[in-house]
């Protein structure tokens, strides 16, 4: 009878696809179920005794907050030293997968390629982030947030919009005096989660971009005269500052430094047609719409989600960790640190300065369930 029930359940779950119905017939576990179904490995409140060390590398966006977390954690646990490095999400994933570091940091979840070839790896959300689109357009007032959408941005990166005074930009920004400054698209030279997020946004809003270029941590950028490639978020901010007419995608943690560099940031068109700037409220609204659909392994794209007032480029910042550690002490240290990050470390005192948002409560449960797998 149990088998019959399971088979019937499988068939019932398959039916929605067969009918292509718009309703959800999901039998995938809910976040709460997943938390209950976690292997039940305990999460220690403190690291192992004696001198302990953890190494982290990866996302340049996550780097500043990780450095802050590491310092704060050391204040509480003086025996633990944590080294951090900003090397890009791609390198964070690769080095964590290879066992070269204890924790990889990534703006993008692990790909199927990563997970299937490294089935012991997990991606654990640490905080909510977003991506801003910066520009260096001379003459604009600092409080002005140009309205841009995926199609216009795609045309900038494809080279079909070459001037900031192009009517396709002007029509989105009535009343704004746009200069005849040439558009200079900046993109990341390294394999980057930020590139994944930005090109994902372009792909959702512009079918020709999706058809021709697509999305990924690395893409074949259309050849545009004057376009520049920069390394890391710091490089993107510096490069944009030095290049009048630039347009660049930068992680939200760099909003202050970008603003300080005189760069503006755009209000982006969301899936329902509204233009939203990356504020805590618009970011939180967008993430909330994905909480119920986040799967147990927390792999989910939240770009261009179904919210009226949500900001369209939001994401979880992930720790990439192996569930098979070389020693019990190492596993204990990693579990204790990651658990601290998603609980105490998600306090405003750590996140606000980088404009990150805390994880929703049910996502903390999912993350704890994944942390518990580390052993």
């Amino acid at each position: 009878m149990a088998l019959r029930s399971r088979v019937l359940a499988a068939m019932a779950a398959a039916l929605p696809l067969a009918l292509a119905a718009g309703c959800s017939g999901s039998t995938a576990p809910s976040p709460a179920q997943a938390a209950q179904a976690s292997p039940g490995g305990s999460i220690p409140a403190s690291p192992a005794n004696g001198p302990q060390s953890l190494s982290e590398t990866g996302s340049t966006l996550l780097f500043p907050v990780l450095r802050t977390w590491a310092a704060a954690y050391r204040q509480q646990h003086a025996n633990v030293s944590i080294t951090t490095a900003a090397t890009g999400s791609g390198k964070g994933i690769a080095e964590a997968s290879a066992g070269a570091v204890d924790i990889g940091a990534s703006d993008a979840y692990l790909s199927s390629g990563d997970l299937v070839t490294n089935p012991d790896m997990v991606n654990i959300p640490l905080a909510v982030s977003a991506q801003q689109v910066n520009y260096n357009v001379p003459g604009l007032r600092p409080a002005t947030h140009l309205r841009l959408n995926g199609k216009v941005l795609a045309e900038m990166y494809q080279g079909s919009i070459t001037s900031w005074s192009d009517p396709r930009i002007a029509v989105l920004n009535p009343g704004v005096a746009l200069p005849h400054t040439p558009v200079v698209p900046l993109h990341r030279a390294d394999s980057a989660g930020d590139t994944f997020l930005f090109t994902s946004y372009l792909s959702t809003q512009d079918t020709s971009w999706d058809r021709v270029t697509g999305y990924g941590t690395t893409v074949a950028w259309p050849p545009v005269p004057g376009a520049r490639a920069e390394t890391g978020n710091t490089g993107m901010v510096a490069g944009c500052k030095a290049t009048p007419g630039c347009v660049a995608y930068v992680g939200i943690a760099y909003l202050s430094s970008a603003t300080a560099a005189g760069l503006g940031y755009a209000a982006l068109r969301n899936n329902l047609g509204n233009y939203e700037a990356p504020t805590p409220r618009s970011i939180g609204t967008s993430v909330a719409s994905f909480v119920s659909t986040t799967p147990v392994n927390e792999t989910i794209s939240m770009v261009d989600g179904p919210t009226l007032t949500g900001y369209p480029i939001v994401n979880y910042e992930y720790a990439i960790v192996s569930t098979l550690q070389r020693s019990a002490a190492k596993a204990r240290d990693i579990k204790a640190f990651l658990h601290w990050v998603i609980t105490a470390g998600n306090a405003p005192q750590y996140l606000d300065q980088f404009r990150f948002q805390p994880l929703p409560a049910s996502i903390v449960s999912l993350s704890d369930a994944q942390i518990a797998k580390i052993g």
Binding site: L3, R6, V7, A10, A13, A14, L15, P16, L17, A18, L19, A20, A21, G22, C23, S24, G25, S26, T27, A28, P29, G90, I93, A94, S97, A108, Y109, L110, S111, S112, G113, D114, L115, V116, N118, P119, S191, F196, S200, S203, T204, R211, V212, T213, G214, G216, T217, T218, A220, N271, T293, P295, N297, T299, I300, S301, M302, V303, D304, G305
Partner: protein, 447 residues
């Protein structure tokens, strides 16, 4: 009734007083010896019948198991893997092809899931918890993972229909990960277990030890019969004892029948294994590897958030699959199986498919996702879809041909045991009855 070719037994001369005790002993010892002989021969006949019948039943049962249980279950496990793999490729391809999931894709996905569920049901119904813990565990993993997988696909489909392609894409990745990390390994393990059961059943059906035991027993009974008849002949001056002669004939007929039946069955079953299941096993492994390569190739299309690709996995599959010496396709095409020519065709077609896959991975490394997608799931004759279909069709024909050979020979082998158990039982009964009758007549002469 006894046939006499010698003078009837003369009553013993009247013993003298001195000879009286010895004569009495002899008169007492002959009936006692006859009774002992009777008991020994009846017990030997029963032992021959019991061991012979048990052995025949064991072999016939194993042969029956090969034909009606192990082979169908092995096929079901292979089909389950194929259906699961195809379901994931179909769902992912439909998602990538967008913007709408076409009816044939929906129907194919639903049919794949239905077939996998049906095969899973057959496999679970045939498996008891005590039979094979590993198999039970593998099937339980498939049973538990299948609703999870279809649930994620449904979620992805819902997001897709609502217009959230990227979210749908990430949920489709989660579904595919469930497929590649849980379902397919469990299905592959199930196939390996079922195939091992088929091999074990074939070995049991063709095994020699108990048949040798029965033949040794038959020789022992024949020896006792011979010695008993010779002793009787000397003691009673009769050349033949008809009862024991009938017992000897029954023993000889049953032993020859046993040897002939077993030889035929063993030859047929060995031919079924050598020309059917062994080449089919290599082909099934090749089909699984082919589906794995196709699955990875399609999964790679939506795997954009990291740097890892399936190039190494593809190269590993290529090295295992062949063609060439020491590879699965090499072994299958050089075998004596009926599917060898189709295996050779698969070997030719797979080279062209490899070239397409290689080009796709090159495009992937250059982030030429659009061209890669067109090459991998596009409709053209030069696309990977067509190349995979050709290889899959070749392998399916080859497997079907080898399974047909296996089935016909295994069925013939099983049929060779038909009626043999009855022959052994009848022979044992005849031996016992013949001995009892023949010796009772002699015993009666001493009353």
């Amino acid at each position: 009734m006894t046939t006499t070719s010698a003078p009837p037994p003369a009553p013993s001369p009247a013993p003298g007083p001195a000879a009286a005790p010895a004569g009495a002993r002899r008169r007492r010892s002959v009936p006692a010896s006859l009774r002992l002989l009777l008991i020994v021969l009846v017990v030997a006949a029963v032992a021959y019948g019991a061991v012979g019948t048990w052995t025949v039943i064991q072999h016939a049962s194993a042969a029956q198991d090969v034909v009606s249980t192990s082979e169908p279950l092995s096929l079901a496990a292979q089909r389950m893997y194929q259906a699961l793999s195809d379901a994931d490729v179909t769902a992912t391809t439909a998602f990538l092809a967008g913007p709408y999931v076409r009816l044939p894709a929906r129907e194919r996905y639903a049919a794949d899931i239905g077939r996998a569920a049906a095969d899973l049901t057959s496999l679970e119904n045939a498996t008891t918890t005590s039979a094979n813990p590993q198999l039970v565990h593998s099937l339980a993993a498939v049973a538990a993972g299948l609703p999870v997988y279809t649930g994620y696909v449904s979620q992805a489909q819902t997001q897709f229909l609502l217009g959230y392609r990227l979210t749908a894409g990430s949920l489709m990745q989660v579904a595919s990960e469930e497929m590649h990390l849980t379902l397919l390994p469990a299905a592959r393990a199930s196939y390996a277990q079922e195939n091992a059961a088929l091999t074990a059943a074939s070995a049991q059906a063709t095994g020699l030890p108990w048949i040798v035991v029965v033949l040794v027993l038959a020789i022992a009974v024949a020896f006792v019969l011979y010695r008993a008849q010779r002793w009787l002949s000397r003691r009673t001056h009769r050349v033949f004892n008809l009862g024991m002669l009938a017992a000897t004939v029954a023993l000889a007929v049953s032993a020859v029948w046993l040897i002939a039946s077993f030889a035929v069955a063993r030859t047929d079953l060995q031919r079924a294994v050598g020309h059917g299941s062994i080449p089919a096993e290599a082909l099934a492994q090749a089909a699984i590897d082919t589906q794995q390569a196709r699955g990875y190739e399609v999964l790679n299309l939506i795997s954009r958030s990291g740097d890892a690709t399936f190039v190494k996995d593809f190269q590993a599959v290529q090295a295992r699959l062949g063609p060439g010496p020491g590879t699965l396709l090499g072994a299958a095409s050089s075998s004596s199986g009926a599917g060898a020519r189709w295996a050779a065709a698969a070997g030719r077609d797979v080279r062209a498919w490899y070239a397409v896959i290689g080009r796709a991975y090159t495009l992937d490394s250059k982030a030429q996702y659009t061209s890669e997608t067109a090459l991998v799931i596009g409709p053209g004759a030069g696309a990977s879809t067509a190349g995979f279909a050709r290889v899959e069709a070749d392998l399916s024909r080859a497997i079907d041909a080898d399974h047909a050979v296996f089935h016909s020979n295994a069925t013939a082998g099983r049929n060779a045991f038909t009626g043999l158990d009855v022959v052994i039982i009848l022979a044992a009964a005849l031996i016992a009855a013949g001995c009892a009758w023949g010796l009772s007549r002699r015993l009666a002469e001493y009353r």
